[in-house]
Amino acid sequence: MFPAVLLAAALDFGIVRDAAPQLARGFALTLEIAVTGTIGALAVGVAGAAARISPSAAARAAATAFTEFFRNTPPLVQIYFLAFALPKLPGVGHYLILPAVVAATLGLVLHQGAINIEILRAGLLAVPEGQREAAAALGLGRIDQLRYVLVPQAARISLPALGNNVISLFKNTTLVASIGVLDLFGEANDIIAQILVSAELFITVGVIYVICVALLGTAFRLLERRLALA
C-alpha cells in the first residue's frame, strides 16, 4: 500500500526492541489464555453436543438455547457482561466479582464453546446411521456406541471446523485487552500509551498473530492428514 521507502523513513523499529521483554510477557499470557480457553471451549462443546443428542427433551432444549444465544451474540459483549454486569446481580453479585483475566477467558469459552457444540453435533449427525445400528447389533450399549464407534468418526469429520474455531479463539484473545488484561495486545497498548508511537508496535504485534495463525493452520492440516482413514 505504501512505498517501502516512506514506510522505512517514518517507522523506527528500535522501539520494538526496547519493548521486547514486555511484549514477551504479554505473549506468554496470550498463550495461557488461548490454551485455557481452547480446553474450556472443547469441554463446553463435548458436554453441549452430548446434551443435544441426549434422550432428555429438557437437556436438548437447554443445550440448543445455550448454543444459539452464545454464538449469536458478540464475544466482546459477553466479556463486558461477565466483567461488569455479573457483579451487580442482586444478592449473589459480590461473589461473582471475577478477576479480569478470568471474566475475559470465560467469555471466550462461552462463545467459542457454543460454536464447538454446533460443530460436534453436526459431526455426530454426519456419521451414517448404519454405523450406530451395526454397533447396536454387536451388543454395544449407548455409551459404548458413542465411545468406540460414533465419536472417533465424528471427531475426524469435525476436525477442520474445530481447527478453525481454535484459530478464531486465538485471534479473539485480543479482546481481553479491552478490560485491562495485559496480554500481547494489552502490553502493546500499554507501551503505546507511554511512548505515544503506535504503528511499529501494531505492525509487529499483527505479524506475530499472523505467524501464529499460520502455524496453527499448518498444525491442524498435518493432524487431519495423520488421522485420515486412508
Binding site: 449469536n72 466482546l76 459477553q78 463486558y80 451487580k88 495486545f185 503506535s198 499483527g206
Partner: protein
C-alpha cells in the same frame, strides 16, 4: 431503574449506528470479495500468489489489531481517518478477505464442462464468467454471505473500542455514568444483538438447506 429507562434512547441510537456500520462494511466486503475472489479464480498461479498473501494476512490478523492500526497507527504515516471510517475499513477488509474465499470457492465449484462449453461457443474469459459461471455460482455464495453478515454485525461491536458510538459504546457510556445499571444495560445489549443475529443465522441455514 429510571436511569436505565433514560439510557434506552441512547441504546436505540447506538443500534442504528451498529446497523449503519455493519451495512457499509458488508457492501464494501461484498465488492472486495467479488473482485478479489473472481481474480483469484482466473489469475495464473504466479500472479495469484501476492493476492493470496494479502488475503491470508487479512484473515490471520486479529480484527482488533487491524482496527487499531488503521485508527491509531496510520496518522503516524500521515494518513488521518475518522473512527467510523477506520472501523468500517477494518471490518470491510477482514470480511472482504473471507468473502473472496466464498466467491472463489463458489466459482471453482462450477463444473469445468460449463466453462469448456462456453469457450466452445466462442465466449471470452470475461463473458464466460459473467454470463455462465457467476450466475450459477451466486446461488452457492448466498448462504455463506448471509452468515458473513451476522459475523460482521457481531464483530462491529469492536468499533466501540475506538469510540464509534455503536450499541456497545452507548451501553459503556451509560454504565460509566451509573455503574448500578450495568446488569440491565448489558443484558439488553446482549438480547439486542441476539434479536438481530439469530434470524440472520437461521436464514443462512435455511438457504443452505434449500439450495443444497
Amino acid at each position: 431503574m429510571s436511569s436505565y429507562l433514560t439510557a434506552l434512547p441512547a441504546l436505540v441510537r447506538g443500534l442504528g449506528t451498529t446497523f449503519a456500520v455493519a451495512l457499509a462494511s458488508m457492501a464494501l466486503a461484498v465488492a472486495f470479495g467479488f473482485i478479489a475472489g473472481t481474480l483469484r479464480s482466473v489469475l495464473p498461479k504466479a500472479l495469484d500468489l501476492p493476492l493470496l498473501g494479502i488475503i491470508e494476512f487479512l484473515r490471520g490478523i486479529p480484527l482488533l489489531v487491524l482496527m487499531y492500526f488503521l485508527f491509531f497507527g496510520l496518522p503516524q504515516l500521515g494518513i488521518h481517518t475518522t473512527n467510523n471510517a477506520a472501523a468500517i475499513a477494518a471490518l470491510a477488509l477482514y470480511a472482504g478477505a473471507l468473502g473472496s474465499e466464498i466467491v472463489r470457492g463458489a466459482i471453482v465449484s462450477i463444473p469445468m464442462g460449463q466453462t469448456e462449453a462456453a469457450a466452445a461457443l466462442g465466449l471470452g474469459t470475461f463473458s464466460i464468467l459473467r454470463l455462465v459461471v457467476i450466475p450459477q455460482a451466486i446461488r452457492r455464495m448466498l448462504p455463506p454471505f448471509v452468515a458473513l453478515f451476522a459475523l460482521i454485525v457481531e464483530s462491529s461491536s469492536l468499533a466501540a473500542l475506538i469510540d464509534v458510538t455503536d450499541l456497545l459504546q452507548a451501553a459503556r457510556q451509560n454504565v460509566e455514568r451509573d455503574p448500578d445499571i450495568a446488569l440491565p444495560i448489558y443484558l439488553t445489549v446482549l438480547v439486542a444483538y441476539f434479536i438481530v443475529n439469530y434470524p440472520v443465522s437461521l436464514a443462512s441455514q435455511r438457504l443452505e438447506k434449500k439450495l443444497a
